[in-house]
Amino acid sequence: MSDIVSMVSYEHPRSPLLEVVDLTVHHGQLCAVDQVSLSVKAGEVLAVIGANGAGKSTLLRTIAGLHRPTSGSISFEGDDISKLATHRRVRRGISLVPEGRRLFASLTVEENIKVGAQSAGPGPFNLKAMYELFAWMPERRNQKVGQLSGGEQQAVAIARALVANPKVLLIDEVSLGLAPIVIERIYEFIPRIVAQGVGVLLVEQDVTQALAVATRVHCLLEGKTSLVGVPTELSPAAIEAAYFGSDMAHGAVDGPTT
């Protein structure tokens, strides 16, 4: 384990909260996630990176209970949860901030967050804590979410997931469609969430952001694990190879966003 881990998770138990073993998920004929194993401990950030279609979102959605795995197991605090319905996993302590934010369009900012708080477990995050975390929110709480900017909507989506007081927070493509400056501001909040002992599993195409915030990084290539490691110990070349395939033979044109 690296120094970063010991810095942020100084007083949390070492046994993983979330453990995924040999997870395989199919979309029809297509094998989207192939024999992936990973674990998330309290107070650490695991970043799953990979190109479009590498299976990152499918992995998160399966952990959240939105897809059924073909094989493999998902356990949480030692219990197998792979048969549990999505809403029960939320109550156990796994919340997902979905790709594309998916806010309730006809509800106000405050109502969106309250829906998330309705099945909350005990913990430090509530509506008031969110209004302190995101200082702009209180005065705009009665606006419909459609009136907010993309970055503000993303903040509401994070708040809505946080108020359930998850032990593991899954974040899917938080930077999608946002300006770099806005992405930076959103990422500033992640260490503050982790400091409360929450384990974070985030999926990201923006490798720079992911590496900056991650305790460990897990790279997927066409559904398979291509690289696992600690950001400071990985060379850009190794990451690039894992991201696109070692020989660049898969037709990739752009480099990773590093």
């Binding site: 939105l66 809403h87 939320v90 979905p98 369009a105 509800l107 829906v115 099945s119 359930a164």
Partner: protein
Amino acid sequence: MIWVNTVIEGVLVGSFYALFACGLSLMFGVMKIINLAHGDMAVVAGYTAIFLVPKFHVAPVWSFVVVVPLFALVGYIVQRTLLQKAIDRDPFTTLLVTFGLSVIIENLLLEIYTANGQSIDIGILISKSWQVSSTLTISYFSLVVLAVAVAVLLSLQLFLSHTGTGRQIRAVSDDREAAQLCGTNYRHIFGIASAIAFATVALAGIAYGISTEFFPSSGGGNLLFAFEAVVIGGIGSLWGTLIGGVLLGVSQQLGAHFSPAYQVLGGNIFFLAVLAVRPQGLFGKRTEM
């Protein structure tokens, strides 16, 4: 004066349509189910009031006290079992299932209670009326229906806006999957929405059975008017449904004013006009996002 009469009559009939239609609107708004058996549910409520309620020694006028909670329960169960199974497949299955339900209900009623007309007898109460002027009298019962319709829609609106469950219903209606990710059991929420829809249609069925004679086949015609009220008002808007029902009622009465044969025609023409000019309905939003 004759115009005032026509409009008042239209408003009274229309408020019944709104009461009848709000459950249809709710089920479509939340579950995206077009319940083709909605009208038949109302008819079943009427039969229940006539044949089951007397067994509990409840006066017909109070039959709703038994029938409405019973229907709420039935609504929850039907949703969690039959309709949920259909939703889990695809929208077309849902349509077929509710159509099948409608056929089964109609024929069962025909088989058990014959095609004879029935009505819920509340005795002298039905004939009491308010003499507004020499040419205008309004029956108390239709005023009661108006009041009930407004009260039901108002409390439904308040429930949806200000309670936790109401908020969850709106959230599920916006994005079912995101609601699950917030810890909401959408199947339970669907059950609650369905319970409300069945309870309101039971109330409408009893009101219908008190005001007129009904038959096993009465569901279909009423379903058509309910659809028209929902579409005129705009799908998903409860106030829209009330206004839609009232406007439908008024346009029917205006049609009837020219010739009794034009009553339904008047309503249909207005319905088609709204559909042509404002397809999303008067209070509906254009679909975005």
